[in-house]
């Protein structure tokens, strides 16, 4: 059996997909697309709202519940804490996205 014969032979081993394969696939993609667009994580607006919320809650806890007597200069503490927390969460999400991308990158 020469190369040409083997090639012809292997070409005959091709298996065809079912007739509606592409339609089913595209339908699945469209469904997933509509789900994805309805959930958007970490938009600028959400980051700002998140930052303010965490800062206010931290500030409240520090000044009222714990009753700590922090001088005016330290008022920035809850704000810095909020920023670090949100940046950390954002970093974790970026790492996760990057990992899933590197698994597929060409």
């Amino acid at each position: 059996m020469n190369e040409k014969d083997i090639k012809k032979l292997i070409e005959k081993s091709k298996v065809n997909t079912r007739f509606n394969f592409t339609d089913r696939l595209m339908q699945k993609i469209e469904t997933q697309n509509s789900l994805q667009t309805s959930i958007t994580f970490w938009s600028f607006r959400q980051i700002v709202i998140g930052f303010i919320l965490v800062a206010v809650i931290s500030g409240y806890l520090i000044y009222k519940i714990l009753g700590l007597n922090i001088s005016t200069g330290n008022a920035a503490v809850p704000f810095v804490w909020s920023l670090i927390l949100l940046l950390g969460l954002n970093y974790l999400l970026s790492i996760n996205n990057y990992k899933s991308f590197t698994n597929l990158k060409n």
Partner: protein, 192 residues
């Protein structure tokens, strides 16, 4: 020929990256049958292979915006399909053994009545013979002859060493002939 295919692929990929789903549909239609054959080489089950193919094409669609033309699109696509198929095979082996192949059911073709095999019957015998080959050999044979990948590209897609690719290709050629001789005897000549 290859350049022409690449040009057509690139044009379609640009369109998909711009959000054109019809271009993606065309891309799927171009590659779906060869891709299914590759997945079947690994999992040896047609319906499971179709599920793998659906998942793989969804991965491709989601990540095509990151495709930077460092390799041919077909190399990237086949790599995803081969990875997904091997992962699924591992997962299946952990749970239960895969059921017997469902895509080549029976080969009760009466040879006496059909001295020359019809094309459909020829295909069934060849698919059966491919199914009986070792997974790696069947995969390398199909990548080389059906998908027209080079040895280097096959090594990238499968993550096999260059020497393993050469050995599998050599053994695959020898074994497919043996399997067909066992299935068909002298009638193997009608296949060629």
């Amino acid at each position: 020929m290859d350049d022409k295919v690449n040009d057509k692929d690139s044009e379609l990929i640009y369109k998909v990256q711009d959000g054109d789903t019809n271009a993606f549909r065309t891309l799927v239609d171009l590659y779906k049958d060869k891709s299914l054959s590759l997945a079947i080489s690994i999992v040896k089950n047609e319906s499971l292979a179709e599920d793998i193919l659906q998942d793989s094409f969804i991965k491709v669609y989601r990540n095509i915006k990151w495709f930077k033309y460092k390799s041919k699109f077909s190399t990237w696509l086949y790599k995803i399909i081969v990875n997904t198929s091997y992962n699924e095979l591992k997962r299946q082996k952990k749970n239960i053994s895969i059921e017997e192949s469902d895509f080549v059911t029976n080969l009760s073709i009466k040879k006496e009545e059909n001295p020359v095999l019809r094309l459909e019957d020829q295909k069934k015998y060849i698919q059966k013979a491919m199914e009986l080959l070792k997974t790696d050999e069947a995969l390398v044979l199909r990548l080389f002859y059906l998908c027209e990948m080079s040895l280097k590209e096959i090594a990238i897609i499968t993550k096999f060493s260059a020497s393993k690719v050469r050995v599998d290709l050599h053994r695959g050629r020898k074994n497919i002939k043996q399997q067909l001789e066992q299935l068909l005897g002298e009638e193997i000549n009608h296949l060629l």
